[in-house]
């Protein structure tokens, strides 16, 4: 096998990619996903975590309090988020309908130490972005009241839970989403794209009947296969690296970027070789892609079920809590890689041999 021939094939495939501007689509795709994930972040945060919204503007919501005096009224008055009015229930609901209030709270005449629960009725606007926010702000007040009531009724409990005081943390709500899901998925996506690409490249030669022309040059069949694998593999660190850079520009600090790339390169080569083997076997895109993508789902699901799988390792590397076990994982993936590489070489040689014989 000659390195020069490999690079000729790899260059040919790159030229093809650039000529068709498909690479442009890939870049667009990355940008689009980045845009949408930032939408997801900002959107979900502001929808469900109003404290992040209040960074933009601090606002006191007008709420009405109807019914009997209780601690809720005290908590509402001391809360910086609300301006409370004692109102008659009917008037308050009418004002709510005209958006002069954000919520109406009705508290019944139930004693804190009664056998029955205290049932508070909360009126908010239907289908309203703001009422979602008010709901979450009111939740704090209600939680406070709940713990007061629990203390009053504590004597009636059979078993007290283990005490543990957790300080109210600030932010960090989407940390797990970003590091434990987004980063492994985004960094791993180029591997999936590349392995689908290698199937296209190989089956194309068969289906467009360009294989014979290619083999009649000094390039051997095996070299052609490895050249295509090389071209696809080279794309992976570029794309994955681009993701890491994009994420870092977005202010998401990522530990161990080099190690992450190393793991991605090894794991992606496994997938690419799997794709190559499937493509060499079926020689037809529909069948090969179908079998490969089904197989891929199985492999990914299975590996996710195992502890310390490569995706988990990516997450742990990114947050900087990966221990020495990462080298064990790397060792295992490298062994799998070598076995697959050997198989691909033998299989390609066999096909080349049978083509010569026939």
């Amino acid at each position: 096998m000659k390195a020069k021939h490999l690079s000729i094939i790899a260059k040919k495939e790159f030229r093809g990619l650039f000529n068709e501007r498909t690479i442009l689509l890939a870049v667009l795709l990355q940008l689009f996903i980045a845009l949408f994930s930032s939408f997801l972040m900002v959107g979900l945060t502001s929808m469900y975590d109003p404290s992040s919204l209040s960074r933009y503007s601090h606002f006191r919501y007008n709420v009405a309090y109807a019914g009997n005096e209780s601690d809720v009224l005290v908590y509402l008055r001391t809360s910086p988020d609300f301006r409370v009015y004692r109102m008659d229930l009917s008037t308050a609901v009418a004002a709510l309908q005209q958006r002069k209030l954000a919520a109406v709270i009705y508290v019944p005449d139930t004693r804190p130490d009664a056998a029955d629960p205290v049932k508070i009725t909360l009126y908010t606007l239907e289908n309203d972005l703001q009422s979602a926010i008010v709901d979450v702000k009111l939740k704090d007040v209600f939680l406070k009241y709940e713990s007061t009531l629990r203390q009053v009724r504590a004597g009636r409990l059979d078993e007290q839970p283990l005490p543990l005081q957790v300080p109210a943390s600030t932010g960090g709500d989407f940390y797990e989403f970003v590091y434990g899901l987004l980063i492994p998925l985004l960094v791993f996506m180029p591997a999936i794209i590349s392995s689908a690409l290698v199937i296209d490249l190989v089956t194309e030669e068969y289906q467009h009947e360009t294989l014979e022309t290619l083999i009649s040059t000094p390039v051997t069949f095996t070299e052609m296969v490895w050249g295509k694998v090389l071209a696809c593999e080279l794309l992976v660190p570029i794309q994955a690296g681009a993701w890491l850079v994009l994420l870092m520009i977005n202010g998401i600090a990522i530990q161990n970027p080099g190690l992450i790339l190393l793991h991605v390169v090894v794991t992606s080569l496994i997938l690419i070789l799997l794709g190559t083997l499937v493509a060499l076997h079926y020689r037809e895109r529909t069948a090969a892609q179908f079998i490969f993508s089904t197989g891929l789902v199985i492999v990914i699901l299975l590996s996710l079920a195992l502890p310390s799988n490569p995706l988990n390792l990516l997450a742990r590397l990114a947050v900087g809590s990966a221990g020495p076990e990462q080298w064990v994982v790397l060792g295992i993936t490298t062994v799998v890689l070598l076995v697959l590489g050997y198989t691909t070489q033998k299989y390609a040689e066999k096909i080349a041999g049978s083509a010569h014989a026939g």
């Binding site: 958006r99 543990l164 179908f290 195992l306």
Partner: protein
């Protein structure tokens, strides 16, 4: 009758062909893989997803607390005595000493504390759930009542909060105050029912619900009664996962259709089909029919399996058509397998985003209805939706699929299928094909009119995207992008004609062409607006997207002027000036919007 017979024949061919292709080699493997997939899914469901294992390191001094934390795989727990914990402080994200948790102050530690407090709350709930006196453990219940606002729901989005009441006096409602009955102080549900619901909602401790927990802890099954900790808008996460179960097979099947079209084009294999005396529409419909039936069957099967309401199928059908129409066009446009792969991945990402993201907000906001998936989520939740909702969320899908099918049918012929030109060139040729030479102005009018559903779709996507940015930015971005998209849609017809025959554009023809385009755009816009989108069009956002419904001559002048700018640029500088023309037109459009709609300059 003849056409139906043709379609049936071609459909039969298609089935036979794909089975002979897939037959011997693929089917056995596919069956094995399917069995494997079921096994692996079961295995994974049992062991859980180990994606976030060991993210945080925690040191504790109490083995009991340690055991409590170790039940969550995200924590690597180390039990030591308090002095050694404080000496190794920097190795832990969180330490727990004498029942007090303390983080190290980093973002990671804060996240660990969040997780810790959620785990602890779950543990506390599990203790409370088994208390014999339930109302001592859960003494407070909130009954949430929704009130319909008399004002439009969008007034909050236009940046206008509930008006602050002047001074200390409570706000006074105008008009007649209707009497609201005093709520009864007792719960209408028995203690046992509540306990059951509580246990159920507290044990939903799957890997997925980790994300749900971040966003809510609500359980819609509980009705309007909630404990305070359940009080936040529920994220319909389970339903959304189910929605993916529906959408995923549709992608797969449309891939097969795409490939079948592509296969006809490789090495001119489809020439035989084209030489038969069958109309192209029959060929396309015939080739599509098996895939459509397959997709519908999969959806129906899933619905039966999930024992869901068959109403789910109604919003799925336009989605199926939309996928098939796009698959057809992608199969016809791409030159090579790689191009096919990339375009289809791109398309499916964009389509998924359009379908998926709005439906996350199914319970929060009416804007989520722009995705048909929201209807599915609602159906799965047991919430009713109306025919208007259906029309509102699916009309764009029906319209765009119909137009794409028309374009494909017009271009399904030799010189288009077997040409090897660039993607954009081919797309332009496809457009050029549906603009007949004999009626240039009429065709421009129609093209502009029919581009409206696509424009709305893309603009809707921008709305979804920018809606969540902080207020001034969302408006600025929307303003720019909405204008740009409209200008592209209007300019594209003129551009196509110009490339085909630059000599056609004398000054007189140029003005006429711009007039036809502007008129077509305006007509299409108003028609679709009246039909479906009145809900959104009432807001400030809507008025930027669709202009006001009031006067007609001003928007016409705007459309006309903008197209004229683009056309003049083309005539003056040739094709290279197209982009420049678009940008100038965009600016003019934005200024118009600023001046007339927002009144910022006046």
């Amino acid at each position: 009758m003849g056409m139906l017979a043709d379609i049936a024949t071609i459909a039969r061919w298609e089935v036979k062909k794909s089975f002979s292709l897939m037959g011997r080699n693929v089917l056995p493997v596919a069956v094995i893989f399917f069995v494997l997939l079921v096994l692996v899914t079961g295995f994974t469901a049992q062991t859980g997803l180990h994606l976030q294992d060991g993210m945080y390191t925690v040191g504790v001094d109490d083995p009991q607390v340690g055991a409590l934390l170790a039940s969550d795989a995200r924590f690597s727990v180390y039990v030591m005595d308090a002095p050694s914990l404080s000496t190794h402080r920097d190795q832990f994200d969180v330490i727990v000493v004498q029942g007090r948790a303390a983080g190290s102050g980093t973002e990671k530690a804060n996240s660990a504390l969040n997780t810790l407090s959620r785990d602890y709350a779950k543990y506390v709930n599990s203790v409370y759930d088994s208390e014999s006196d339930l109302f001592a453990a859960y003494p407070l219940w909130i009954d949430t009542q929704s009130v319909t606002s008399e004002l439009t729901f969008l007034s909050t989005q236009s940046g206008q909060y509930v008006s602050a009441a002047p001074g200390r006096a409570p706000p006074v409602p105008t008009g007649v105050v209707q009497n609201v009955p005093t709520p009864s102080p007792t719960l209408s549900v028995t203690e046992d029912q509540l306990r059951q619901e509580l246990v159920q909602s507290n044990t939903q401790n799957t890997q997925i619900s980790r994300y749900t927990d971040v966003l809510s802890s609500g359980n819609p099954a509980m009705g309007t009664f909630k404990t305070p900790s359940q009080l936040s808008p529920p994220l319909p996460f389970d339903s959304i996962i189910l929605v993916f179960v529906f959408i995923f097979p549709l992608y797969f099947t449309s891939q097969f259709f795409m490939m079948s079209i592509m296969n006809e084009r490789i090495e001119r294999k489809g020439e035989v089909l084209l030489s038969t005396p069958v109309r192209t529409a029959s060929i396309i419909l015939g080739k599509m029919l098996p895939y459509f039936l397959g997709m519908a069957a999969i959806c129906a099967g899933l619905t039966l399996y999930l024992k869901a309401s068959p109403l789910i199928l109604l919003p799925l059908i336009p989605i199926i058509f939309f996928f098939l129409a796009n698959a057809l066009l992608i199969g016809m446009l791409s030159r090579s397998f790689k191009e096919l792969s990339f375009i289809s991945i791109f398309f499916s990402t964009v389509a998924t985003s359009y379908l998926f993201f709005p439906s996350i907000f199914a319970n929060v906001h009416i804007i989520s209805l722009i995705s048909p998936l929201t209807l599915i989520v609602l159906t799965l939740q047991g919430t009713a939706w109306t025919a208007t909702d259906y029309l509102y969320s699916t009309s764009l899908f029906w319209l765009t699929s119909a137009i794409l099918f028309y374009i494909a049918a017009k271009n399904f012929k030799e010189e288009r299928l077997f040409s090897e030109k660039r993607l954009l060139t081919r797309a332009r040729e496809f457009l050029s094909e549906i603009l007949p030479r004999e009626h240039p102005f009429l065709s421009l009018f129609l093209l502009a009119g029919f581009s409206i559903p696509f424009v709305f779709m893309v603009q809707m996507m921008c709305l979804v995207l920018f809606f969540n940015l902080p207020m001034p930015w969302s408006l600025v971005f929307l303003l720019l992008f909405a204008a740009l998209i409209e200008e592209i849609a209007k300019g594209i017809g003129i551009y196509t004609l110009f490339v085909r025959n630059p000599a056609f554009f004398t000054w007189k023809n140029l003005v006429l062409a711009c007039g036809a385009t502007a008129l077509g755009f305006l007509t299409g816009e108003k028609l679709l607006l009246f039909a479906t989108l009145t809900q959104i069009s009432d807001s400030v956002f809507g008025s930027i997207l669709f202009l006001s419904l009031g006067s007609l001559w001003l928007p016409f002048l705007l459309h006309f002027g903008c197209v004229l700018i683009v056309a003049c640029c083309l005539k003056y500088g040739g094709r290279k000036w197209f982009v420049a023309g678009l940008l100038i037109a965009m600016l003019v459009h934005c200024l118009y919007n600023l001046y007339f709609i927002l009144g910022w300059l006046s």
